[in-house]
């Protein structure tokens, strides 16, 4: 409490309660920030030498291209294969089997033999075999409407229609980006000690970023081939305003449940940043101005946020209304010339505004504080194997106390009610992708994935309650291994408070897109566009500097 502190006494703000932060509605209100992976990727690779090494496309834009980032002896090369695709075969669904283009990020400089090998495998995606030399894999489809329009206009010597460009925001959409050993790709252990990829998903971000450049080069090339004398290149500023679209379905949701320590480290970085910002006693004029500038300019990202989802339209409307009110309050009624101004501001936000607005402003508060966020970015990966073993020498009583402390709301849920036990997560047979279904209407509930953590934690608690407190966990597990997976999690959450979603992931009210939004906000995605409660479209790198501009770019590009 500010009023009780002596003037020079440092403020000690507590980290926010996981039982508040880790609720799905709150996690689903997160927005991009300085901690987001695409922004930290650009910062890390800004000094690397960028090059287009190969560009062999025919007049229609089909063929092979290679782009690279190089520093000293380390080289990462994106290999692109653009293919002709029949209109009827184009689908963004993960169950598709053909795409306009397919990509892989290669570790080093690919030889001719590598490209020949990959040409056979990469376009087949999940049905192809990659090797330890390849790091990430993806595919993308054109937004045919935008791509063809841009080709048409450029070939006539004109720039494309601004309204169309703004309303869509990209030339291509990726539909999945794979890494970490999938389909034979390099396992993480092979590369995890490389300093440039401390911080999660760096190489996935690199792939998407270089794919974006490929889309510009391809569209210019096709326009030029169409009308060599008259065609012009896509204006650099229009290129910058375009990103890469992405369709994301439920595949992402189990990830955050299956990687508890990683989830903790992401959230913990965000929470630590907020805590440290709230503990700043005197806000400098520069920092105040930067915060206000980013906040005000960022409104453009909300007003240009297009979606047909009523759910999201309502969220955007309410966010915009709250932010406009909040900015008026900042301009007219709030003074930064008080101690711990950001703390005061945060407390005001919690009192007055919705979760979406609170988390939006929390992201904005980080903008002036590179010194706080930069060290945290390095803490956002996790050595998950270290926490795998269960401390079986601990007692039943200790485990019960952990459950009571760490899952207080979950323990109050009645899973005997159908509404709380309505859905089950499973892996679809045709594409090996996670899906969610009603257990009372659909078949297959007996093959449920271990993602009903809340229900199983409650079961564990009930079982522990009729077990002798003095028993060791080893003795308990000897006859109760059905709940082993949640025993492991309970001991993880004891050490990592933000490792667990504090909600029921199988209840009637579950909004799976909240789980997707959480992950995508850490990726740095903008303009979430839910197409149902189970999948959404986003845009990445919209407004980002082009590779040739990286050496000297504005870190706050996202608000320009």
């Amino acid at each position: 409490m500010v009023q009780f502190l002596q003037r020079n006494e440092p403020m000690n703000i507590h980290l926010r309660d996981p039982n508040v932060v880790m609720k799905l509605s709150r996690l689903g209100s997160f927005h991009q920030s300085k901690l987001s992976f695409l922004r930290s990727f650009l910062k890390e690779f800004k000094d690397w030498e960028y090059k287009r090494d190969l560009f062999e496309l025919n007049e229609h834009g089909y063929g092979t291209a290679v782009y690279s980032f190089k520093k000293k002896k380390r080289v990462y090369s994106l290999i692109c294969f653009a293919n002709e695709l029949d209109e009827n075969e184009r689908s963004d669904r993960v169950i598709a089997t053909k795409w306009d283009a397919a990509f892989t990020l290669f570790d080093g400089v690919p030889l001719k033999q590598d490209i020949e090998r990959l040409q056979k495998e990469v376009p087949r995606q999940e049905f192809g075999r990659l090797s330890y030399k390849e790091l990430t894999l993806s595919r993308a489809n054109k937004s045919v409407r935008v791509f063809n329009h841009v080709v048409e206009r450029l070939s006539e010597g004109k720039q494309p229609d601004n309204d169309l460009i703004t309303s869509v925001g990209y030339l291509y959409r990726t539909t999945a980006v794979y890494g970490s050993g999938k389909f034979g790709l390099a396992d993480r252990f092979r590369i995890k000690d490389r300093e440039e990829i401390y911080g999660p998903f760096r190489l996935e971000m690199m792939l998407v970023y270089l794919v974006r450049q490929f889309t510009f080069d391809q569209v210019n090339h096709v326009a030029k081939s169409k009308n060599p004398k008259k065609a012009v290149n896509l204006d650099i500023n229009i290129c910058k305003s375009l990103g890469i679209g992405n369709s994301t379905g439920l595949g992402m949701a189990p990830f955050i449940v299956n990687h508890p320590t990683l989830l903790n480290n992401w959230i913990s970085a965000r929470e630590t940043a907020l805590k440290k910002i709230r503990e700043i006693k005197i806000i400098s004029e520069n920092d105040k101005n930067l915060f206000l500038k980013c906040l005000k300019k960022s409104l453009k990202n909300i007003t240009s946020w297009n979606t047909e989802s009523e759910y999201q339209i309502n969220k955007i409307k309410s966010l915009l209304k709250d932010l406009n009110e909040f900015i008026l309050y900042l301009d007219n009624d709030f003074s930064f010339n008080q101690d711990y101004a950001f703390n005061e501001l945060y407390l005001y936000l919690e009192k007055e505004y919705c979760e979406e607005c609170i988390e939006y402003v929390v992201s904005m508060m980080m903008e002036p504080y590179d010194d706080i966020t930069s060290p945290l970015i390095k803490e956002m990966s996790s050595e998950e194997e270290k926490y795998f073993n269960i401390p079986t020498e601990r007692t039943v009583e200790e485990l019960k106390v952990i459950l009571e402390k760490k899952y207080p709301d979950i323990l109050t849920i009645d899973f005997n009610k159908n509404e709380n036990n309505l859905n089950f997560w499973f892996i679809s047979k045709n594409k090996e992708e996670p899906r969610l279904a009603n257990r009372f209407d659909e078949v297959g509930a007996e093959l449920e994935q271990p993602l009903a953590i809340a229900r199983d934690i409650k079961k564990l608690y009930e079982l522990l309650s009729v077990t002798k407190n003095s028993w060791t966990i080893a003795k308990f597990l000897a006859t109760n291994n059905e709940l082993r997976h949640v025993v492991r999690r309970a001991f993880i959450v004891e050490k990592f408070p933000y490792s667990e979603i504090q909600d029921n992931t199988i209840g009637q009210k579950i909004m799976p897109i909240d789980m997707l939004r959480l992950k995508l906000s850490f990726f740095g995605a903008l303009k979430f566009d839910p197409r149902s409660d189970k999948w959404l479209r986003i845009c990445m790198f919209q407004g980002a500097p082009l590779p040739e501009q990286l050496k000297n770019y504005d870190e706050h590009w996202i608000y320009n």
């Binding site: 090797s131 330890y132 970490s180 050993g181 999938k182 389909f183 034979g184 790709l185 390099a186 396992d187 993480r188 252990f189 194997e385 795998f388 073993n389 269960i390 079986t392 020498e393 892996i427 271990p450 966990i473 080893a474 003795k475 597990l477 000897a478 006859t479 291994n481 059905e482 709940l483 082993r484 997976h485 949640v486 025993v487 492991r488």
Partner: protein, 203 residues
């Protein structure tokens, strides 16, 4: 070549399909990955085990004692292994542990390797005539290098090895003496200004 991540995932899912709980399936995924890292035939043995598991009518063992013998059939290597790992802090004091009749014993081995890391002691594992020295889950030293399926072991003998030097004191002293040749003799004034100089240790 299959990545370790693929090996882990497929082993885990197939273990669940074979009837183990998700928690145990997670352990098996990690274990098969471990065997394959150490160039031991994990996938080969797991696949064969699951193919024959139903007809084997295996016995489960919950609480592990010094000497363990299955009644009629063989022990399940997974349940024996998971309980061995869970109970290792108690078993450590027994020093020597034996199992008679264990099915697919290579699937039992990674649990013992991980137990070696948990207690910080090497464990010697004899599987009939095959010997494995499990070094804190960092590596495995063995006289067995065949890429084959081992369907059963009549006797498994485990010995927890105390943390002892592998060399004589005389050998250590000789080497230490040689290492001293990298040191430089200090003069008196440097000796007087070293850490702690001038302070009373009884203050």
């Amino acid at each position: 070549m299959r990545s370790l991540s693929e090996i882990d995932t497929v082993s885990k899912r197939s273990s669940r399909a074979a009837g183990y709980s998700w928690g145990i399936a997670e352990e098996i995924g990690k274990n098969i990955r471990l065997l394959e890292i150490f160039s031991l035939p994990g996938i080969k043995n797991l696949n064969s085990f699951f193919r024959k598991k139903k007809e084997l009518r295996l016995e489960n063992i919950n609480i592990i004692k010094q000497d363990n013998e299955a009644d009629k059939n063989e022990y399940c290597p997974i349940i024996a292994g998971v309980n061995f790992l869970d109970q290792i802090k108690n078993l450590e004091t027994l020093n020597e542990i034996t199992f008679k009749k264990v099915s697919y014993p290579l699937l039992f081995l990674p649990f013992v390797s991980r137990a070696s890391e948990v207690i910080g002691k090497r464990i010697l594992l004899k599987m009939d005539d095959r010997e494995f020295l499990l070094n804190f889950n960092n590596n495995i030293y063995s006289n067995y290098t065949k890429n084959e399926i081992i369907e059963s072991a009549e006797n498994i003998y485990l010995k927890v090895l105390e943390n002892r030097d592998s060399f004589e004191e005389k050998e250590w002293n000789e080497l230490y003496k040689l290492s001293e040749e990298t040191f430089v003799e200090e003069n008196d004034s440097l000796k007087e200004s070293g850490a702690g100089a001038g302070l009373t240790d009884n203050d």
